[in-house]
């Protein structure tokens, strides 16, 4: 039941991403599609985000802010952002920028864009709530390429020490960064061992499998920060985009849009 519901929302979000991206002619489609399921599970299952109880909401910080389209569409489906705002994304005299601006947009918790910032801000927020005795939890999503930033490891080192157990980071491990695969670019693996040795609770999951995602959310992490390493596919859901580096950059033309939407529909029927 729950999984079916989440799958349907994810399907709606992916189609909306394709449509908006086509209209706006923006890149980073692959980076958005890889984390849709994770964000759907967050916003429609895990996070307390009730517009009526806004002050007590849990916090989600999109640190890999180039997946902004995934966040904008999910906030729209959730009813936190208006459809009008989404449609005017990236338009001249429009509304939403490609990277996040919290000053002008409700629902955006932190302004991010440059990699290796959101993770550390989220950490500070989590620590702030913790010492205040506030029950709010903080989640952040980082990219696999993003976790090459030194600042990520600076934060990782302190989060373990500070025992920030209201903090969960998720790596969208889609295995394709801007110009190659993390493992080819640097000594990326063993990623699990690295985080473990920094004092983090670890979960490794298939980032497109809702029961695994939810199980990871439920994994207790008393006295420790948690990291969920989610193996994902760049461009997930659209066969000609899946695991293709060029979909970090390419634009969805009108023709490709139809092809992508058809592909998403067919994929959904198969399941």
């Amino acid at each position: 039941m729950l999984e079916g519901k989440l799958k349907n929302i994810a399907q709606e979000a992916r189609k909306l991403i394709i449509e908006v991206a086509c209209r706006a002619k923006t890149p980073h489609i692959g980076s958005s599609l890889s984390c849709v399921d994770l964000l759907v599970a967050l916003y429609f299952y895990e996070l307390k985000v009730d517009p009526k109880n806004w002050k007590q909401r849990d916090i989600f910080v999109l640190s890999k802010a180039h997946a902004e389209l995934a966040l904008y569409t999910i906030l729209t489906i959730k009813g936190i952002m208006s459809r009008k705002k989404l449609i005017n994304y990236f338009q001249d005299n429009g509304t939403l920028p490609a990277h996040l601006d919290r000053i002008t947009n409700r629902g955006i918790e932190v302004s991010t864009g440059s990699l290796g910032h959101g993770f550390n801000i989220a950490l500070g927020m989590a620590y702030g709530y913790k010492i205040k005795g506030d029950k709010r939890r903080v989640f952040t999503l980082i990219g696999d390429g993003e976790s090459e930033e030194g600042s990520i490891w600076e934060g990782a080192l302190f989060a373990g020490k500070l025992k920030i157990d209201n903090f969960t980071a998720i790596i969208d491990y889609n295995n394709l960064q801007g110009y190659g695969r993390p493992r080819e670019i640097c000594y990326y693996e063993p990623v699990i061992d690295k985080w473990k040795s920094f004092g983090w609770e670890i979960c490794r999951i298939d980032g497109h499998n809702f029961s695994q995602i939810i199980k990871a959310f439920k994994t207790p992490h008393k006295g420790k920060p948690k990291i969920i390493v989610a193996d994902t596919i760049k461009g997930k859901g659209v066969d000609f985009m899946e695991d293709k580096l060029k979909w970090h950059y390419f634009i969805v033309t009108e023709e490709l849009k139809q092809k992508a939407l058809t592909c998403l529909d067919e994929g959904n029927h198969e399941k």
Partner: protein
């Protein structure tokens, strides 16, 4: 200056439990009392300046009034993008306390000098830049930042600077008239003020002397209203000659087509390789008392300044 800033923040911290103090592994002997009195609102985030600033941003978003303490290169240069994106872009009430202004730490070497910080800080919208000249101004700067809802950068030297304002001051939000005079005006910010005061004692004709602890935003209307009868402005700062107060004043005079001659005294824009103590460095770079005296005397004689 350092101690008066910390003491002021500490006094407020007793009444306000939302004040949080962060250091990047600096402050031995300076922050000990704060740490002891408020262990739950003090963190040493170690030698990790990027995380330090982003973390401060996060604490601020969670409702804390945050102060970050470090020497200037490690609170502004190393983590410039974090200050830009995480503090200033998001307009958060975080105060950066930078110690070691100018060549305070000479001869530690160029990596530890702060001779371009004003130039850098001026590029940041929303950021209020404060450069107190003594502990009296420093205390007011700390009080200002405690009340301020915007990002603040306080540039201080270290400790033991001579007191300039023996009579006290009302506010640091406007330029402060230190000495009444005519024809020539000396404008300064920061601890170099003590050299200006020493120069004043040796001058036969008295220039007007103004301290500018708040460099951004600068109250130009107030400044102009106090420059009647002045034909020459001499800016004095322990900062690169280009990019700091001198450039601010020069730009203002040109933009508004004001009738002042401007002479800038500051450190030549170059990497400092000379080995000397701070007084020797000031002398070497032409911002010491003697150089100020000669410049003011020339200005009174209405000489043309050579480059």
């Amino acid at each position: 200056m350092r101690n008066s800033v910390i003491k002021t923040i500490m006094n407020y911290s007793k009444r306000n439990n939302k004040i949080f103090f962060i250091t990047g592994d600096a402050g031995y002997g300076v922050l000990d009392k704060y740490k002891e009195n408020f262990p739950d609102r003090f963190l040493n985030l170690g030698v990790a300046e990027q995380n330090m600033i982003s973390f401060a941003s996060g604490l601020s978003l969670a409702g804390y009034k945050v102060f970050v303490y470090n020497i200037i290169p490690f609170v502004l240069y190393r983590c410039y993008e974090q200050v830009r994106n995480d503090i200033c872009y998001q307009d958060l009430p975080v105060t950066l306390i930078g110690v070691g202004s100018g060549i305070t730490y000479a001869p530690q070497g160029a990596t530890h000098y702060s001779v371009e910080d004003i130039a850098l800080a001026r590029t940041l919208p929303n950021l209020i830049i404060l450069s107190p000249s003594d502990s009296v101004e420093a205390e007011k700067c700390a009080e200002f930042s405690l009340r301020c809802k915007s990002p603040v950068y306080i540039r201080i030297a270290k400790s033991g600077e001579p007191i300039i304002h023996k009579q006290g001051i009302k506010s640091i939000s406007e330029p402060i008239i230190v000495n009444e005079g005519s024809e020539v005006g000396i404008l300064f910010h920061g601890s170099i003020g003590s050299e200006v005061i020493s120069a004043l004692k040796c001058l036969k004709r008295t220039p007007k002397v103004i301290s500018l602890p708040m460099l951004q935003p600068l109250n130009f209307d107030f400044l102009l209203s106090n420059l009647e009868g002045i034909h020459t402005l001499i800016t004095v700062e322990e900062h690169f000659i280009e990019g700091g107060l001198g450039s601010i004043i020069e730009g203002w005079v040109v933009k508004n087509m004001l009738n002042f001659r401007v002479k800038k005294l500051g450190i030549k824009n170059e990497f400092i390789h000379a080995i000397n103590n701070p007084a020797g460095m000031r002398n070497l770079y032409g911002i010491s008392c003697n150089k100020i005296i000669r410049t003011v005397e020339k200005a009174f004689l209405n000489f043309t300044f050579k480059k």
